[in-house]
Symmetry: C2
Subunit: 241 residues, 2 copies
DNA sequence: TCTAGAGAGTTGTTCAACAATCCCTCAAGA
DNA sequence: TCTTGAGGGATTGTTGAACAACTCTCTAGA
């Protein structure tokens, strides 16, 4: 996220220093708290509907209420928390309409990115290869959480081919929100499993440069994904039926 | 933005009360401050690059620093302000890359929305008719600020046809950021003028249901718009050349 | 069964203080 | 002349406490 000035090419060691500094602490307390909570939410440790009490979190995280609220805001903007006036912040409970909405925008962005691809340097597909391989590997191990992560990364890297910071950001938010939905259904394995091989198919089409076919395949892919998720959603266990 | 429970149909007068309350104070102080600043930024009263001093604004607006900072955060998320650690918030200075990026996402969303339109109820085009008329009227009067506003509303209403809250939100941010760019060029009239009639053309195609042609027209439209804006940008007056 | 109201608990907002950082200036040194 | 580094003023980052405003729940009373 943070933009650092590129060190001059001749100063090789500066590169590594810059890399270290980047990981160092160029962030505010609120951002670090947000990062911590973000993981909790994305990993599903905090189930949708959970209220995040200011009092409790201030105690646990050893930050002031103001700083905590700042972190809340950051996550609210990412769609990972919702804020209700005078009631606090909650992990969002997405309903079916949200799913449809999410997939609508997702199809718009992802398919359009693929459709507009041209003169693609094969090197740029490298991250996608890695993600597909990671997904296949995790599937073999039966590690479905890792499959989910690999899938998310695949799609994030896919839109990254567009070279647009704002598209990246929009997609990131989209995928994070979508991940919330997966946590509310009973058996995410069933949902992720088919897409391990479909990601491979998609990647093959990109390698051979068949972007139009890839775009169409992705369109169907996302429609199927949506349908399955919606179906799983209707059977989901709920606390307030 | 805020979702209110609909009053029961039989209680007619409640409707008007609800409408009043809506405008009343169903918002936090921070939101009201943000609304105030938002207008200043969008209208161009605060030129890009301006730093918004906490000290000064706290004095003028009679709110606490914390509340002000919360308002800053809201606007930062909308892309109307940028925040630099330990340096404060600034009105963003978009560069040419930002313009290209903005238009990239804009084409993706707007064209895709139009392309996917089907079975469109003519009633839903009503707001678009109004916006086009408002634009034409403002152009006749020579009120270019109003032309700009009408144009923005036209495009906002256009994507609204997709019925997607998240698409609306993304587009809103996009258009707001873009408006910043228009404030940095010398003669915005030249830029807005051609699109008064092009919006009309586009709308006509939607009325007759020729969505594919409309999508293609919009694609060209946005490319032209981008090219002109970039060109105007290169000639823009700058403080630090 | 419904309503009004009291009370507890939580969030919204403000304030004042201190810590951390940036930015400018200026002087010493190569 | 250019670079480097050390002040020092100004601004932002963070904290904790206090009070106001609001929601939610429960109960008394009609």
């Amino acid at each position: 996220m943070a933009a650092f000035p590129e060190p001059p090419a001749h100063a090789g060691w500066l590169r590594t220093v810059a890399a270290e500094v980047r990981t160092f602490d160029r962030s505010s307390t609120a951002e670090r708290v947000a990062e911590l909570l973000r993981h909790r939410v994305i990993e599903g440790d905090l189930p949708p509907g959970t209220r995040l009490s200011e009092e409790q979190l201030v105690e646990v995280l050893h930050v002031s209420r103001n700083t905590l609220r700042e972190a809340f805001r950051l996550l609210t903007h990412e769609g990972l928390l919702v804020h209700r006036l005078h009631r606090g912040v909650f992990v969002p409970e997405l309903d079916e309409d949200d799913l449809v909405d999410l997939y609508r925008l997702r199809r718009t962005i992802e398919c359009d990115v693929v459709r507009r691809l041209e003169r693609l340097d094969p090197v740029r597909l490298r991250p996608l290869h890695d993600d597909v391989a990671a997904g296949e590997d995790a599937a073999r191990r039966g590690d479905w959480v890792a499959v989910g992560t690999a899938n998310m990364r695949f799609h994030q890297h896919l839109v990254a081919l567009a070279d647009s910071a704002r598209i990246d950001e929009t997609a990131a938010r989209l995928l994070a929100e979508l991940r919330l939905a997966f946590h509310t259904v009973a058996a995410p394995q069933r949902l992720y499993a088919p897409y391990v091989s479909r990601n491979r198919t998609l990647l093959d089409l990109l390698v051979t440069g068949e972007t139009d076919r890839a775009a169409k395949e992705l369109e169907v892919y996302l429609h199927d994904s949506e349908a399955q998720l919606v179906q799983a959603y209707r059977k989901r266990p709920r606390r307030n039926p």
